[in-house]
Symmetry: C2
Amino acid sequence: MAEALTSEAILAATEEVLRRYGPAKATVVDVAKALGVSHGSVYRHFATKAALREAVTRRWLDAIHEEMEREFDPALSASDMLRDWLQRLFDKKRLSHTEDVELFTTFRTLVGENSAVIEYHLEHLVGQVARIIRAGVDTHEFVTDDVDKTAQAVWDATQVFHHPAHAQEWGNPHIQDAFDAVVSLVVAGLRYNRIPSATGDA
Amino acid sequence: MAEALTSEAILAATEEVLRRYGPAKATVVDVAKALGVSHGSVYRHFATKAALREAVTRRWLDAIHEEMEREFDPALSASDMLRDWLQRLFDKKRLSHTEDVELFTTFRTLVGENSAVIEYHLEHLVGQVARIIRAGVDTHEFVTDDVDKTAQAVWDATQVFHHPAHAQEWGNPHIQDAFDAVVSLVVAGLRYNRIPSATGDA
DNA sequence: GGACTGACAGATATTGAAATCTGTCAGTCC
DNA sequence: GGACTGACAGATTTCAATATCTGTCAGTCC
């Protein structure tokens, strides 16, 4: 016995196994083998295989949160801040998709298994959008009756650029143009938007 | 021999077989059996099974075109016309999904097999959006540098409400609110939108 | 005594032989 | 003679036997 088996070591090994075999083939026995222990030991730290996978998923999503949280440039206007935030998110997703399709697919499968985790993740990201919009409302750059609802609308309107179901479209050479067009439309909308009905022009 | 076998009869029988057995189980032999002919006869009208399925898919999509084309109310403002058009499309999709999930899934599978057909279908629908936007530009209700690009942006921004990948979200009780919020945001954006960069406020 | 093992029952996945399907075509039937 | 059949080869799918995996737990080892 060299060192005590930690949850952290198990998570790292699980990531490695998932990376190597993919989500369909990765078994708890494989993880145990990679760690040189019996698979019974893994169950001492995670109650079920599902719980283990969920922990890995949560880890990955938390890493995205942190990356997106960092580097909010407060000098930018709300429009530019929003544009920049959406662009960074898109770049991150697109990059991870084109760089390593296998891993991206694995990631997508795991996310699909853990709807509770993804729900928290989405709420968190939409919360970041809401924060930017609120800043814009405070400076009278944006107009809206309901910041949270509008943040959700911005998120929904840009789904094509972050929802994994649309990943195959991200390879299209004109995707950046499409992104710019949608973001411009959305940002223009934020300058004069009332949710229930958009009547009363200037 | 009662009557001559027509392509039309084969298509109808294929739809019926697809409806009954689903896309995975429906075979050319089943179609022939339903028609009371040998499967060799079916191949006299359609070169391959794929061609037969494509013809069925095209038929379904054409029916959607026609329905959407009808009932453009010219009395409406461009905003209301766009809102109405998007609502009708959403209602149609959502209804066909909730009414008969089996058939919707079948439909989605077939569409997935025929990317060329779907491409034509999407161009057609985005063309209808472009027509509405152009009308809005003519009456100075909307502002844009590039009608076609903007039409595509409107389409992209509303993907959540028509792309089959998001069908499961259509069951959410607040989905209509989400739809209203996105459409309001988009319509507000159309009133003052310039694609490459949205600077130069009033 | 607490971390770990390994054998076990039931659930799930793999495999390969048998059945079915796709697409062809020579031949039958009005 | 043109619409249709039915038997056929090769490709694909099904099914049941076999192997592997998940989750448990009594027992081993420091």
